[in-house]
């Protein structure tokens, strides 16, 4: 069941690009929807333990591995990809363009699926880079100057991160002669205090922090998220950078660095700074998407903070928040896509009163905003609660307090957004705005339903879904 997650999208790309374009161009969207739905189903089957479903997985083992963390990530990749495809269908004009877009989404999908299933540092680098290259092109897809600027910044910073990660990998190769996670883990364990290994750890963490957009490594993020085409920013903010940066960090801190205390203290610090800088920067934004980008930095800070706490509960909270964030942040970006396509601008000072014109967008945005700010009983509340409880239990009272206070800031800037965009009087020139097309509203409704559903069923989820996640922590 694992290798098809890589090979099927690859097969889809190859078949779609056979010289029968006139036919495949029309099919590409449906193939995309089919692939993402299949991925969701496959994850559910895997989670329920249908090993027998792995009929042709055994012919291509590819050294892939799968645990509960992987499943969570695969699930969110499937969901967000589905939303991206639906939004892309609506927002990207021209069949040819859409075809190119779908191809790139498939590439990104392979990259992300690979990233979460492999167990080797060098392969990790390769698949992160696959995701990144697809993201560069997706950002620059419509070739307007701002998007190119965002893409170029992303390339430079991402290449810097790559260099750091590769240096780190080669140092680990020098120490143990292999690049698998297990080998790297033993290197870290056996050579405590070796300056080379310390440098390797530091470089790898920093590389991943750049990829994940954590302060102070986040410079590329606001530009890339805000300038990307609507559909691309859903994918990028929702899952792409989270998989390549944050997931990898979770994986490495748990299986390679094995909750090293010095690493944890750095993560705590970086997380807190991210939360605060992201939240304060978001307050001052007038651009809808840029505000969401900074909010993303702030929310990623919570994940990093929980990771730095290091207890099992904290890591469950981190994974849960990662999942929730991928859902509600892509939902917010879907809403921004709706606003952008219907009103032609994302400048919040020019928007206003869209709530009555776009009821679905308004309602789903409200759900996403409340979930992001951590209002019960939505999903975001529970993950933040778990993180804060974990911090408190681990006697990190200052960090817990900051985390709580920062959610007030989150509430503030998102409320500001909601008020400026959706409430109040209809702004000038927006009298004829209508609800966005069904692709966008479908995506928004699905994501909102997931956020509410996860939140409401949390008491059940906690024991039956969330606690088992910790099984990957041995």
């Amino acid at each position: 069941m694992l290798s098809p997650l890589l090979l099927l999208p690859l097969l889809a790309i190859i078949i779609l690009n056979l010289p029968i374009r006139s036919l495949t161009q029309k099919l590409s969207v449906w193939v995309g929807i089919g692939l993402s739905l299949w991925q969701i189903v496959a994850v559910v089957l895997l989670a329920m333990g249908h090993e027998s479903a792995d009929a042709w997985g055994k012919y291509f083992t590819l050294g892939l591995s799968c645990d509960n963390l992987t499943l969570v990530l695969l699930m969110s990749i499937g969901i967000v990809t589905l939303a991206t495809i639906l939004v892309g269908w609506q927002t990207i004009g021209g069949e040819k363009q859409r075809f190119g877009f779908m191809n790139l989404v498939f590439v990104a999908m392979i990259g992300m699926n690979g990233t979460v299933m492999l167990a080797d540092l060098f392969s990790l680098y390769i698949f992160i880079e696959v995701t990144a290259v697809a993201s560069f092109i997706l950002i620059a897809f419509q070739r307007n100057t701002n998007a190119l600027e965002g893409a170029f910044k992303y390339i430079i910073l991402s290449a810097t991160a790559t260099v750091m990660m590769l240096l780190s990998i080669s140092i680990i190769l020098l120490v143990v002669g292999d690049t698998s996670f297990a080998a790297a883990g033993s290197a870290v364990k056996q050579s405590q205090g070796n300056p080379l290994v310390i440098v390797a750890i530091g470089l790898f963490i920093c590389g991943l922090l750049i990829k994940g957009g954590v302060v102070p490594f986040h410079g590329w993020l606001p530009a890339a998220y805000s300038a990307a085409p609507a559909a691309a920013s859903v994918l990028l903010a929702g899952i792409a950078t989270k998989t390549s940066g944050i997931y990898a960090l979770i994986r490495l801190t748990t299986s390679v660095f094995a909750n090293n205390e010095s690493v944890n203290s750095i993560l705590l610090l970086a997380g807190t700074i991210s939360i605060l800088v992201g939240a304060f920067a978001a307050i001052g934004q007038s651009d809808f998407k840029k505000m969401l980008a900074y909010s993303s930095i702030s929310q990623v800070g919570y994940i990093i903070l929980a990771l730095g706490c290091g207890t099992n509960l904290a890591i469950i909270g981190a994974v849960f928040h990662l999942f929730n964030h991928s859902i509600f942040k892509s939902l917010l970006f879907v809403n921004s896509a709706a606003v952008e396509t219907q009103s032609g601008t994302t400048d919040m000072n020019k928007l206003g009163g869209l709530g009555t014109k776009m009821p679905v967008t308004n309602a789903t945005s409200l759900i996403a905003f409340l979930s992001t700010a951590g209002v019960p009983p939505l999903a975001g509340f529970w993950s933040k609660l778990i993180i804060i409880i974990a911090l408190w239990q681990n006697n990190l009272h200052t960090y817990a307090t900051i985390a709580v206070l920062a959610s007030v800031l989150t509430l503030a800037y998102l409320l500001l957004m909601q008020r400026k965009v959706f409430f109040g009087k209809v702004a000038e020139g927006l009298g004829n705005v209508k609800e966005a097309g069904w692709g966008i509203t479908t995506a928004a409704s699905i994501l909102a339903a997931i956020t509410v559903g996860v939140g409401v069923t949390f008491p059940w989820m906690f024991n039956s879904v969330l606690m088992p996640i910790s099984s990957f922590l041995k």
Partner: protein, 105 residues
């Protein structure tokens, strides 16, 4: 084999100096193409380091495999980056990095 550490340290210094050069180029220049050249220099440094590690640890084959993969990936990245630079030039008739500061704050 007493000179193994010496060779390692010599070329390590070379790789580190390449890193410095690459980052210097990346930070100090405004020209977008030059920034990409800086990235190339950084990549070369890493390639050298991996090959060197393979040589020192007698895992030449593995190191070569990694280096080849790395080279292929970098060429793709550079190709995409050059494509973006060309698009920028098409839009604003310049490849000055200082003009690419519209998204700030």
């Amino acid at each position: 084999m007493t000179e193994l550490p010496q060779v390692f340290w010599l070329f390590s210094i070379g790789a580190i100096l390449l890193l410095i050069t690459g980052f210097y180029c990346l930070i100090m220049t405004y020209n977008l193409v030059r920034a990409l050249i800086g990235l190339e220099i950084l990549t070369k440094s890493v390639t050298l380091f991996i090959i060197l590690v393979g040589y020192v640890t007698e895992r030449v084959a593995l190191a070569q495999a990694l280096a080849i993969t790395l080279i292929i990936i970098e060429v793709v990245v550079i190709a995409v980056a050059v494509g973006i630079v060309l698009c920028v030039y098409k839009n604003i008739k310049s490849i000055d990095g200082r003009l690419l500061r519209n998204i700030k704050g």
